[in-house]
């Protein structure tokens, strides 16, 4: 790891200010993801803004309007253990509780989870060529590439996959992102607007302005009943990312689906919204979708590589199970 200057602000406002002041500075939350990247020297920041001493970033609050605001510095263990989250967002609590391992969940923050980089071994090892790190092509897509965990949507020219299993549930909950933190306050971002599509030569995944931080995730209140379910396909039960995650959020009008949100994880360079599946669910009656939804719509538009063909099937299974979870649980 290359030595860096380490700043330790006390508040989110100070942190954003530090980021603005120091171009190229990187915010560090739990460091679960970053330390590996630095040790491998895939990234060599000159300045790191540590969020470890920030005291105003970890709260989990119920606002007066019924919105839930989840501080970006809350850990996955905080989410899984919070009475508030368990009561109002049980699917999120379960997703947080299934991620990684107990040790990691106590360190990994919500903000870092959303901003985590791909697990693509080619990107994470300096000795491999990688499109995002300046190579002319993505070797995963080439004939000799190891593809099993690669993306199956929007995978050209980069076949990476965003591995968060928490993000899809937030997407299904209709979450929005509060970013900013400077003295002038922040702004709200639609959930999908948090990420950028990969570009050759660029490794950052977030679509933030210089100096911006994820401050919190806001789950808006709903005038209608909402049901949220999620399902993961995990090869190993712990200390691993799912092969595929699916989350389904349904806003109901009595027994009819007013709005559906279907999000997938580990299938595309960013958390992936499965619009065809949403369309297949919207306007339908619960009893009907319970009987007929086979999840295949969630895989629509997939362009799997030879080694990831199986993942399209997993997407359908996970989407179907996520729907069953939504109907069964809440």
């Amino acid at each position: 790891m290359k030595a860096f200057r380490f700043l330790r602000p006390r508040t989110l406002a100070e942190a954003s200010e530090a980021l603005r002041r120091e171009p190229g500075a990187v915010p560090k939350a739990g460091g679960v993801d970053l330390l590996d990247r630095w040790k491998e020297r895939v990234e060599e920041p000159e300045v790191v803004v540590g969020l470890c001493d920030v005291t105003d970033g970890a709260a989990l609050r119920l606002e007066e309007d019924g919105a839930l605001v989840l501080g970006a510095l809350a850990t996955l263990a905080d989410l899984a253990g919070s009475d508030l989250v368990r009561r109002f967002l049980p699917a999120l609590a379960r997703a947080a509780d299934q991620a990684a391992s107990p040790q990691i969940r106590h360190r990994a923050t919500l903000g870092g989870n959303l901003a985590q980089a791909t697990r693509c071994g080619y990107w994470r090892l300096r000795s491999f060529p990688c499109l995002l790190r300046g190579a002319s092509r993505c070797p995963v897509r080439e004939p000799g590439g190891v593809q099993e965990t690669a993306g199956i949507f929007a995978n050209d020219p980069c076949a990476s996959a965003h591995p968060s299993s928490v993000a899809p549930v937030l997407g299904a909950l209709g979450a929005e992102i509060l970013v900013g933190g400077g003295p002038e306050g922040g702004r709200g971002l639609a959930f999908e607007a948090l990420w950028r599509a990969p570009e050759p030569g660029r490794s950052d995944v977030l679509a933030l302005e210089p100096g911006e931080l994820i401050r919190a995730v806001r789950i808006p209140p709903s005038a209608h009943p909402v049901r949220v379910g999620h399902a993961e396909v995990r090869q190993r039960a712990a200390f691993d990312w799912p092969l595929v995650t699916a989350a389904v959020g349904l806003t109901l009008d009595a027994d009819r689906i007013r709005e559906a949100r279907v999000w997938l994880g580990s299938v595309a360079p960013t958390p992936h919204r499965a619009r065809a599946a949403e369309a297949a669910l919207t306007g339908r009656r619960l009893a009907e979708v319970r009987a007929t939804f086979d999840g295949r719509a969630a895989a629509e538009g997939a362009t799997p590589l030879p080694g990831t063909a199986y993942k399209a099937g997993l997407v359908a299974v996970a989407a179907r199970r996520a729907l069953a979870d939504a109907l069964e649980r809440s």
């Binding site: 030595a3 391992s101 071994g121 997993l314």
Partner: protein
């Protein structure tokens, strides 16, 4: 020189099994060396041996007090590391180390310009620095110019006619095939006449040892011309041999090697390897103690691996389940090195007509290494899978088919015991309708090892009745220290807590490398003989003290008796030692020809397969193993648990993934190289059929390796039972399970 001893050997327990199998006990006569202890008969009443004595170093390990090579930081320690090639095949044109040398704190740099590298990770430069940070910066500052050359990193690619050659001049290319076995015609005839034939191709992937403590050592040259080395090795006694001591500039006899605690070896840590030799050179060059431990990525790449295999097998049999013949052609690659010859393991069952050719294939990958039962897990996976295919063809119970063809009397009893405990009949009768399907499978294990001479164990007794047992062999985690303490305590009639065991220090007599599951069976008999010597020495002192002839002092368990009611406890006898010490030695004598020469085992597994996602979970395993006389059921069970878990990991998760074009490993971390974790551990029930084997004064045999031999096979057969279709490639990942289901006729 020797005396004849007749004693009863055979099955010690469990009791009901002994009652059901009287033939598993018998009387034998052996020639016992005059200095050796009498063997314990099958029904010997023993106080410590065979009892659950907790690990003597358990507390040190769980509290972190145990010192591993990583933890050794002598004053003035310098840190060394190596840079590996990112190319599988290349010429190192030039190494520019100017920037590396300029890093403050760098003490020395070595480069290997001109070298032809033939696998990714191969060392092209090395650095020694004041501190880990300077080391890391310097390694990153090295600029290496490569001329990449074409490579072939898979067995199939390396066998292609135009494949680049690992050994350029070799006319046979990369194939190292043994001569064709001559009996092909006879075997073909047997096959032609056989009523039933089944054939299939099975494949296994490369598994890395993934020791938690990576390879490496700390080397220090002292001003007096001696040296000390702390090594993470399973062969402490031989670590400093050859190139290592030459590089150190100190003759081997003046090098003291220490292995206090070991964080895993599994066969990959015999002797000093290239980076150790580099560390030795730096230690001499800098005059500083130098630590070089491989980082995880290089540990995966260079630390050794279990070669992969492609196994094409055909089995012939009768319509009622009797094997008639086996044909097999196998290929395997251990990369640049030898040892990748697919697998053998036809030896468990009676197979009258056998034709088997096993070829090695050289590839541009790092060399393999011995790995817990080399060749066996892969070979058993293939053959035991084929047996289930045959049984399915016959509509027969695969367990019954095995029992029909299994000549081993102990394993016959084990099949019976295991099936009962596992609930085989019920598990096989189960049929699930939903997407989650359960299945049950079984497989056999074998091993052949009772330890060997010529090791010596030192034993010292002091006046305070403290006993020290010492040998240079290492305890690689098996519990050797605990076992030796119990054996000595048994012989001396004292508590194991009184016995201190010192292992892993070459100031003590040389010991065996931990390989072939031989260490316990090699050293325990010598320790027992040493304890017997100590008893005799104390008896002699008592005789002198009492003024009676030595022959009149007897030593029943826990004390001494002389004529006219004279008695002394062990502690009282020790007091006579005064300021001196009693120092004795025991020798490992040659094995006798015991009747239970091949250890037997079998395992049963139940799995649940999600047929929609292809995810396999192992729910439970029953493992039945014989290890000769079980000296400590606690540490023995722990060996079997570890073997089973490692076997499941091999069956379901572990796979070194190489980019086929670039030749480098894309999953060289512990999160991307999947290993079974706690959350995936099934219930493992270990049944030990303890057996006085008749080979040595302890009756001990080996266990570490056979415990992992049948697991992957049993799991694969359970998956076959659950799905009705075989997954013929390990690991059985979701992708492979789904592909197998897709191809299955519906």
């Amino acid at each position: 020189m020797s005396r004849e001893v007749t004693y009863r050997v055979g099955l010690i327990g469990p009791e009901d099994l002994v009652a059901r199998h009287p033939a598993l006990r018998r009387e034998i006569t052996v020639q016992v060396h005059d200095l050796d202890a009498d063997p314990w008969p099958v029904d010997a009443a023993l106080r410590w041996v065979g009892r659950e004595v907790p690990r003597v170093d358990g507390e040190a390990k769980v509290t972190g007090a145990a010192r591993y090579t990583y933890d050794v930081h002598p004053h003035g320690l310098a840190f060394a590391g190596v840079l590996g090639s990112p190319h599988a095949h290349a010429r190192v044109v030039a190494v520019d180390d100017a920037a590396a040398r300029a890093v403050p704190g760098v003490l020395a740099v070595r480069t290997f310009a001109g070298r032809r590298v033939t696998y990714a990770g191969q060392i092209v430069a090395a650095v020694c620095a004041e501190n880990p940070r300077a080391l890391d910066d310097a390694l990153a500052a090295l600029r290496v110019e490569f001329e990449p050359l074409p490579a072939a990193v898979t067995t199939e690619d390396a066998l292609a006619p135009d494949a680049p050659r690992v050994e350029p001049g070799r006319t046979e290319g990369n194939l190292h095939a043994p001569p064709e076995p001559g009996n092909r015609a006879a075997v073909d005839e047997a096959f032609a006449a056989a009523p039933v034939r089944v054939a299939a191709e099975y494949r296994t992937s490369v598994q890395t040892h993934s020791c938690l403590e990576p390879h490496g050592c700390v080397a220090q040259v002292h001003p007096d011309g001696t040296a000390t080395v702390w090594a993470s090795t399973q062969a402490t006694s031989f670590f400093a041999r050859g190139r290592f001591s030459r590089e150190l500039g100190v003759p081997e006899a003046r090098v003291r090697t220490l292995t206090e605690h070991m964080g895993g070896g599994f066969g990959s840590k015999f002797g000093a390897l290239e980076w150790d030799v580099i560390a030795a050179g730096f230690a001499r060059e800098t005059g500083r103690p130098v630590q070089l431990m491989l980082p995880r990525r290089l540990e995966h790449l260079l630390g050794g691996n279990r070669p992969d295999s492609i196994q094409r097998l055909e089995l012939a049999g009768t319509a009622d389940g009797v094997f008639l013949g086996l044909k097999g052609e196998t290929f395997g690659t251990a990369g640049n090195g030898p040892g990748g010859a697919g697998a053998a393991n036809h030896s468990v069952y009676r197979i009258p007509a056998l034709w088997m050719r096993q070829s090695e294939v050289a590839t541009f990958t790092a060399r393999g290494a011995a790995f817990r039962a080399p060749r066996h897990p892969q070979g058993f996976f293939a053959l035991e899978s084929l047996i289930d295919l045959y049984a399915a063809r016959l509509g027969a119970d695969p367990l019954e088919v095995r029992r029909r063809n299994d000549p081993h009397p102990v394993r016959q009893a084990q099949w019976e015991l295991g099936a009962e405990r596992f609930g085989w009949a019920a598990a096989r009768a189960r049929r699930d309708a939903g997407p989650l399907r359960r299945g049950a499978g079984c497989a056999a294990a074998r091993w052949l090892n009772a330890g060997r001479p010529p090791w010596q164990v030192d034993l010292t007794v002091r006046a305070d009745a403290g006993v020290l047992v010492a040998n240079a062999a290492q305890d690689i985690g098996t519990g050797m220290k605990t076992v030796l303490a119990a054996v000595v305590a048994e012989e001396l009639g004292i508590e194991p807590g009184r016995v201190q065991v010192r292992l892993g220090d070459t100031r003590d007599p040389a010991g065996p490398g931990s390989g072939g599951s031989t260490t316990t069976a090699s050293l325990a008999p010598a320790a027992r003989e040493a304890a017997l010597r100590a008893r005799e020495a104390l008896a002699a002192r008592l005789a002198e003290h009492w003024g009676v002839p030595a022959a009149e002092v007897r030593s029943p368990a826990g004390g001494f008796e002389g004529p006219e009611g004279r008695r002394a406890s062990f502690a009282e006898a020790c007091r006579l030692i005064g300021d001196e010490e009693v120092r004795v030695q025991g020798t490992r004598r040659p094995n006798w020809a015991g009747p239970f020469g091949e250890t037997a085992g079998c395992q049963f597994a139940e799995v649940e397969v999600d047929t929609e996602t292809g995810v396999v979970r192992v729910l439970r395993v029953v493992a039945v193993h014989d290890a000769g006389r079980v000296l400590n059921p606690l540490t023995a069970r722990s060996q079997v648990n570890g073997g089973v878990l490692q076997g499941i990991s091999y069956a379901l998760y572990e796979e070194k993934r190489l980019d086929r074009a670039l030749g480098d490993m894309v999953n060289p971390t512990l999160d991307t190289y999947r290993i079974l974790g706690l959350a995936d551990c099934p219930r493992v029930e270990v049944l030990l059929t303890s057996l006085e084997a008749g080979f040595n004064n302890c009756g001990a045999m080996g266990l570490g390796e056979p415990a992992t031999v049948p697991t992957a096979a049993a799991v694969a057969n359970a998956v076959f039972h659950a799905l009705g279709v075989q997954v013929r490639e390990l690991p059985m990942t979701p992708a492979r399970v789904l592909a197998a289901l897709e191809e299955a006729p519906r």
